[in-house]
Amino acid sequence: MSELTELTIKETARLLRLRSFSAAELVTAHVEQIERLDHRVKAFLRFTPELWEKQAEEADRRIARGDLGPLVGIPMAVKDVLCVRGVETTAGSQILKGFRPPYTGTAVARLFDAGAVMLGVTNCDEFAMGSSTENSGYFSTHNPWDLDRVPGGSSGGSAAAVAAGEAMIALGTDTGGSIRQPAALCGVVGMKPTYGRVSRYGLIAFASSLDQIGPFTRSVEDAAIVLDAMAGHDPLDATSSTRQNDVLRDFDAGVKGMRLGVPREYYEVEGMEPAVKAAIEAAIKSLREAGAEIVDVALPHTDYGLAAYYIIAPAECSSNLARFDGVRYGMSSQDALNITEAYERTRRKGFGTEVRRRVMLGTYALSSGYYDAYYLKAQKVRTLIKRDFDAAFEKCDAIISATSPTVAFPIGSKTQDPLSMYLCDVLTLGGNLAGLPGISVPCGLTEELLPVGLQVLAPQWREDVALRVARAYEVASGVKAEVAPLV
């Protein structure tokens, strides 16, 4: 029943109600797909059979009762930074090995309530710091389109799982592009909502002012459905918003009459591959043909975005990761002579190179005497970048660009050069700094048969606009997210 692993939520929901198959059978099909492929893709860190059995059973009971919820019985993978009660959750780090949170985060809990069935926990860069999933404290994940290449990151396991048909939907987190970039590199849909749209309660924080949870799916509509189920105010997260957004409003209205902004700065970034540029130009053409007005917009502070991001995110992470001290949970050095030594040993052993690098960068940036020159300056740049977007959205309804300047790169090709890895996020992190909703949709394959992603950014709280444009592109181009042709 391998075709069961290629469906979208909409198709599945219809077939489940027609009793073409049961939720239990749907889960079994995905588990078989995992058994067949995951030893090569390595998308999952661990599996949750006790959950999928119970949740699939419950889903079949709900279907029998006539429950029409679109997510009932939908097999889901969850990134290793989202706490699920009783399930080992490690943020891809050795320091949390064996940690089983006694609570489930709000976003996951809402999807459980909506009927989703959890298959397992997906691999990611340690504490979501990375763009290739090679910084995982466990192992690297492979891109289902070319197993010698990275899936992107940090949510690489989730993107790969959906691309390989091992899960119908997956959750990721996006701090500088960690959903959109792996979605682009794996040829699936990935969406980062407006900052504050989805509760961060239960998300192991990397950079609190930038982190958002979002879905990976194989269609734009599926992304909207998953987002809709997760979104909304949560009394446990003071930064979650009470604003409403009907994400499926005008979903199929097309782009006729819409103004789509093309920022020159985003097409001239360092390292933009010609094949990516060509794919995006083709996408622009097809959107124009679909009736959109393409307008030039300026994002003049783009060049400073990366620098600001790599001050703010490490600064917040240096503080967020202070709690991993070996005192209450996770790895703990037992042979130290005093508390300072215990901290040092636990953290040196528990954290990987990139995490240690960012903790040190952030500590430095916040230090007395450097705060004004680094952290404060970066916050000012952040404000300027927000203003750039505000001004751009005066002239257009949404901004379109490549999601990543490159296609998936070979495993190991950037691990020795952190700066080249940081450049992977150059087109996505502006959306995080400004708190905007953004989506990456598949935009065809290069000659090497590697996926390219088209990014749509919309004004804050206008997920509906981002989804409408993405949907219009999906229809106009005929490019569909598909399960990678792994043999």
């Binding site: 959750t89 940690f99 609190s208 009394p235 446990l236 930064t239 709690r323 001290d325 209450r328």
Partner: protein
């Protein structure tokens, strides 16, 4: 100061009480588990704003929380959520003996947990334990300007703050429960010098007595140091109650860099001016204002007014009793002399009743004490108690005359002595009279006695 709240500063846990089993008032949030987030306790904000208003502080429209970063096992998140550059309030004052002690700021933060070391000394401890019941408990930090000139003033200031916080209901401020801790900064300077000397900060003083002793000790230590040609080092020092001395903890060179930055998990707060206005209107009369009114409206001496105004319950009792018809000066005497020392507070009506019974001469002062005690314990009105016990004072001359005659017959020697000019013999006669009949009105009885003695 720990504001009076049911739950902790950023989670729903009950505020721990002294004696709770270790780690029994904790949840994933105050334990700093991964993925958890703080949410601000509105009651703590309200208590802080009330305190700020009572201290005549300015309340800015915008305020925010910041992270103070340092690692210690009693600090679960590796940072304390506090307020750095935009505190909830600033620039107020507290009146102390007609003088203003300026308040720099009042802000909110969270407390840490507690470490318990197995062994006398930390460096010898074989094991250390962490109790996080207090972690996340709300704290208000009230920072004063360097306006206090002595250990006495510092203690008076602390006492006045406690009175104020209790009056407005912002904190129970019980030192033995750790709800009020002081961190005095001490410096000395030459007489006439304008410039403040190098200061030391004493950490976590938890009684008024310790505050007073520690400051006195520190003043002497600094004086001796300077007089012997040394210099005071800016540092934080601890206070050993047992040894009666302060000791160095951490000098400025080794001071921690707290790397303050805005807490990204809590959006900045915008304080609604309407809320402030409502809180201001709801504030009870503050001790300073009440003290003034007790002297001007009731004619109480300043000393009495201070004692009564310092305790809201006593002040309410006083005004209630006067309203119920008691003489103000007498009511004050009864409150200061009898009610305050026992802490057992009668109703205002009962106190008024009692004061009237004594001032009208129906019962003696001594009887009044007994009646008051019984009234507080049973909740019955003094006049009912007096009637029941036949306590009422006897002033009837005919009845007393018989008694006086009886006393004179029983003490012929004293009578003789008095008539021979030994006036002090009257005392012995009166004592015997009181013994035989405590209810006798002593004034009437002594007049009769003098008349018969000629």
């Amino acid at each position: 100061m720990q504001p009076t709240t049911r739950s902790k500063m950023f989670c729903g846990c009950a505020v721990g009480r002294l004696g709770d089993p270790p780690n029994s008032n904790v949840c994933e949030i105050c334990l700093g588990m991964p993925g958890t987030l703080p949410v601000i306790n509105k009651a703590a904000v309200e208590a802080c704003l009330k305190t700020a208003l009572a201290l005549k502080c300015e309340i800015p429209r915008h305020t925010k929380f910041d992270r103070k970063n340092y690692m210690y096992p009693d600090l679960p998140k590796g940072y304390q959520i506090s307020q750095y550059d935009l505190p909830m309030s600033k620039d107020g004052f507290l009146e102390l003996d007609g003088r203003r002690v300026r308040i720099r700021r009042v802000h909110l933060e969270e407390d840490t947990g507690k470490l318990i070391h197995a062994g006398d000394k930390l460096h010898k401890a074989l094991e250390s334990f962490v109790d996080l019941n207090r972690a996340g408990t709300p704290l208000m930090e009230i920072v004063s300007e360097p306006d206090l000139r002595s250990a006495d003033e510092a203690r008076d200031y602390a006492v006045a703050l406690r009175t104020l916080l209790r009056t407005i209901g912002a904190s129970e401020a019980e030192m033995e429960k750790g709800q009020l801790r002081a961190e005095p900064n001490i410096s000395i300077r030459r007489t006439g010098s304008e410039e403040l000397g190098v200061k030391t900060e004493l950490k976590n003083i938890n009684s008024f007595r310790a505050l007073h002793r520690a400051i006195l000790y520190e003043v002497v230590r600094q004086t001796e140091l300077l007089e012997s040609g040394g210099t005071v080092v800016q540092e934080t020092r601890g206070w050993s109650e047992a040894e009666g001395r302060t000791f160095s903890q951490r000098s400025k060179e080794f001071a921690e860099d707290y790397r303050y930055f805005p807490e990204p998990d809590l959006p900045p707060l915008e304080i609604d001016p309407v809320w402030i206005a409502e809180l201001r209107l709801a504030l009870p009369e503050l001790p300073g204002a009440r003290r003034g009114r007790l002297t001007s409206d009731y004619g109480l001496p300043a000393g009495d007014a201070v004692l009564i105004a310092a305790d809201r319950d006593l002040a309410d009792l006083f005004e209630g009793a006067v309203a119920a018809g008691a003489d103000a000066k007498h009511a004050a005497n009864w409150i200061i002399g009898e009610v305050a020392p026992t802490g057992k507070i009668p109703t205002a009506e009962h106190l008024a009743d009692l004061v009237k019974l004594v001032t009208s001469g129906s019962i003696t002062r001594d009887q009044g004490r007994e009646v008051l005690m019984e009234s507080v314990e049973t909740g019955r009105a003094p006049s009912d108690i007096v009637t029941e016990h036949g306590f009422a004072q006897v002033s009837d001359e005919a009845l007393l005359m018989a008694l006086v005659e009886e006393v004179m017959e029983a003490n012929p020697r004293a009578v003789e002595d008095y008539r021979a000019g030994k006036k002090q013999a009257l005392g012995a006669l009166m004592a015997d009279l009181k013994k035989r009949a405590p209810e006798a009105n002593p004034k009437v009885a002594s007049e009769l006695l003098l008349r018969l003695l000629g």
